[in-house]
């Protein structure tokens, strides 16, 4: 019916909106990495950082 839906105002000026080939390909490439999720090593790293912080905080309180 209405195939020419205008892009949202913020994006219409830069030509990277939903109807843009370049915008869609950019997001496809980016999404390939993004969709991999978070590797375990980063979860472990954050776990360790949080643990270390707890210990430090505990030491400060005593």
């Amino acid at each position: 019916m209405n195939q020419m839906t205008p892009a949202r105002p913020r994006r219409s000026e830069d030509g990277l909106g939903p109807n843009s080939d370049i915008g869609a390909k950019l997001r496809a490439l980016y999404g390939q990495v993004q969709d991999e999720g978070i590797p375990d090593k980063f979860l472990d790293l954050l776990e360790k950082l949080a643990e270390a912080e707890e210990k430090t905080d505990g030491a400060k309180q005593n």
Partner: protein, 205 residues
């Protein structure tokens, strides 16, 4: 039934250490950091061109961000803050090491064989090459605006430049990409849409 990869508690092994009391709720800094990591990684790959280097960069960024978290105001833009740290880290490492030649068939190309999107692999590989051919400042600009989802204001802050500069970088990047790919922009898939159908082998299914 895909397991949640963001789950902090779903560790394959039981925790080795016995805590004296129940672990407190993770601080929201950590939670927000985790939520931003997938996008931060994608940005790191786009900067460094390689997965292993990108992950080193993300790791350095996480450590730095953690150490500096007291200087971050909760409720403000953590994503932009993390991207700024990562970008600064990347360019500072580049200056130290000197520019290394980027892998022209980088990891994006590699991933495409296992993760085909709506586009044919050939189509995206060509696009990746065109993207790699852009000057660094234009490439990061169009990625931050077009893929990371930042506003011009945020992207300008991340790249430490004026908003007008950011707009002009994005505009020049788009123009160059269109010229290299032979498309005219909005909803124009050009002859590539046809050639992709012909050249893409259907061995994915």
């Amino acid at each position: 039934m895909a397991p949640s990869r963001i789950s902090r508690t779903a560790k394959p092994e039981a925790p080795k250490k016995v805590r004296p009391e129940a672990p407190p709720e993770p601080p929201s800094f950590k939670r927000e950091l985790l939520a931003t990591l997938p996008s931060l990684r994608a940005f790191a790959v786009s900067l460094s061109g390689k997965h292993d280097k990108a992950d080193d960069l993300v790791q350095d960024t996480v450590m730095k961000a953690w150490a500096k978290q007291t200087s971050f105001e909760m409720g403000t833009n953590l994503k932009a803050w993390l991207f700024t740290i990562l970008r600064n880290e990347f360019y500072s490492q580049m200056r130290k090491r000197g520019r290394e030649v980027q892998d022209s068939d980088g990891i994006f190309t590699e991933r495409m064989s296992v993760h085909p999107s709506q586009y044919g692999a050939m189509d995206l590989a060509d696009f990746k090459k065109a993207l790699d051919a852009l000057p660094d400042d234009q490439r990061e600009a169009i990625i931050l605006i077009g893929a990371s989802g930042f506003s011009y204001e945020e992207a300008a802050e991340i790249c430490n430049c004026a908003i007008g500069t950011m707009k002009s970088r994005v505009s020049r990047a788009r123009t160059r990409l269109q010229a290299m790919l032979g498309v005219t922009g909005e909803a124009d898939y050009g002859p590539d849409a046809v050639s992709a159908q012909v050249t893409t082998t259907p061995h994915f299914s």
